[in-house]
């Protein structure tokens, strides 16, 4: 598990988050916020790929007729 830090948000937003977390079945507001931020993150995040490897993949995809 990664290190946790504290953030401050307005009470109004927090109350909305509590309600949302309950309705959606999240165990906590923290879990809801982490989930939503991950969902909104750039899609390449979490992929470790060099430019060179990406080019090789594209070449293979072209050879196989996918692109």
């Amino acid at each position: 598990m990664s290190e946790k830090i504290k953030i401050e948000i307005s009470k109004e937003v927090y109350e909305k988050a509590v309600k949302l977390a309950e309705e959606a079945g999240f165990p906590s507001v923290e879990a809801l916020i982490e989930f939503l931020i991950e969902e909104a993150s750039e899609s390449t995040e979490g992929e470790e790929i060099s430019k060179e490897d990406e080019e090789k993949i594209k070449e293979r995809l072209r050879d196989l007729g996918y692109i």
Binding site: A24, F35, T44, I49, K58, Y66
Partner: protein
């Protein structure tokens, strides 16, 4: 946008270059364990990121969490235990922390660090994963055949074994690059171990009406007797796509993954794996990953309610049939007519007709698809 990997990071345990050469030499000198082709497939799925965030076979803490809570110890959803079984005499003299080489067909496939060796109860495992201990269930039968101990630990893949489907198999990093190249932001994935009939085509096209692309993702790997052979499924889908799909909205690629027939639990597993391939939506059909009458027809749909944090949107599309009055493929939700006007699509009937070399009626299966299937001398697993 292409979906984020499950657990936040796409695992890559494939060793390359000089490190690979060094580890291959090491593999010949350290203790070895021979593994089955099914475990090789698990290894490939771990190493290439299809099973992200797993980096190896489950250690006991994760195994027990998956068994009882359907989550890893850190609360990440995970429903099917990915485990490596061994006999006690295969690991004599080995201890936790040791490296072992995993061999298949007398060749080194991977290295593994033994993090833990532990026992398991196959009956409890079967009851929790398959909801039965009946050995007539193919998943239970497979479980009962497995060895007495489990080894957990990270793996490093040294060699992909020869694969006759290498020109149709893409791994997660490849489909992710592909989807971005195509500019797809939403992708519906369709899991299958069958040849396509009109009902499958209907649900795929229903999903495609609101996603940018469709990933047709047949399983290539162990299947039970009577299932369609892998090459038959691929050829049948190629025929369907050629004749009935716009070219730029569909990707057909095989997935090397074992089938467990674990019904609802496996439906969640299938969704997680497709998320790793970049899919944003996952089509969950009737009796998904089921077998016989072990699971309710829509039981898998209910289980998705327990996973609001899954990170992939399930698409629940009811079984489709042909309605004479509607004049097309419909579902219970879209057709007001009675059974008298409805022509159900029976997989059993299609199978029986194909076995006799007959072309099923067009409301059940496209003739171009049926022709491809009956060209095979025996299209079924023996």
């Amino acid at each position: 946008m292409v979906n984020r990997p499950h657990g936040g990071r796409l695992v890559n345990r494939v060793v390359k270059g000089r490190r690979k050469e060094a580890l291959l030499e090491e593999a010949l000198e350290i203790p070895r364990i021979s593994i089955s082709y099914e475990r090789v497939i698990d290894l490939l799925d771990i190493a290439h990121g299809a099973f992200s965030p797993l980096e190896g076979f489950l250690v006991q803490e994760d195994y027990l969490h998956v068994l009882h809570d359907m989550r890893l110890h850190d609360d990440t959803p995970w429903t099917i235990p990915i485990i490596l079984d061994v006999d006690p005499d295969e690991i004599v003299g080995l201890k936790e922390g040791d490296d072992i080489a995993l061999f298949y067909d007398d060749k080194p496939i991977a290295l593994m660090k033994i993090e833990e060796v532990y026992g398991w109860d196959k009956k409890i495992h079967s009851q929790l994963v398959y909801k039965t201990t009946d050995v007539n269930h193919p998943g239970v039968a497979k479980t009962m055949e497995r060895k007495e101990l489990l080894i957990g630990g990270r793996i490093d893949l040294l060699n992909d074994p020869p694969n006759r489907f290498s020109d149709i198999v893409l791994w997660p990093i490849e489909t992710r690059v592909l989807f971005r190249e195509k500019g797809w932001r939403t992708i519906a994935a369709f899991q299958t171990r069958n040849v396509p009939h009109r009902g499958h085509e209907y649900v795929q096209k229903a999903a495609l009406t609101f996603t940018d692309g469709l990933l047709i993702h047949p399983l290539l790997g162990w299947k039970k007797k009577g299932d369609y052979k892998d090459e038959v499924i691929i050829r049948a889908y190629k025929a369907l796509i050629e004749h009935y799909y716009p070219k730029n909205v569909v990707v057909l690629t095989g997935l090397m993954m074992n089938m467990h027939y674990a019904g609802p639990r496996e439906a969640i597993h299938h969704a997680i794996v497709r998320k790793n391939f970049g899919a944003t939506h996952f089509i969950v059909g009737r009796d998904h990953a089921g077998v016989g009458n072990y699971y309710g027809p829509y039981e898998a749909w209910e289980l998705f309610n327990e996973f609001p944090d899954l990170g992939i949107t399930p698409l629940f599309i009811r079984e489709a049939f042909y309605c004479r009055k509607c004049g097309g493929m419909v579902t219970e939700k879209t057709c007001p007519h009675t059974d008298q006007d409805r022509l159900k699509i029976s997989g059993t009937r299609i199978r029986a007709m194909l076995r006799k070399g007959e072309i099923p009626p067009e409301h059940m299966m496209r003739p171009e698809v049926a022709k491809v299937i009956i060209e095979f001398e025996n299209p079924f697993v023996e």
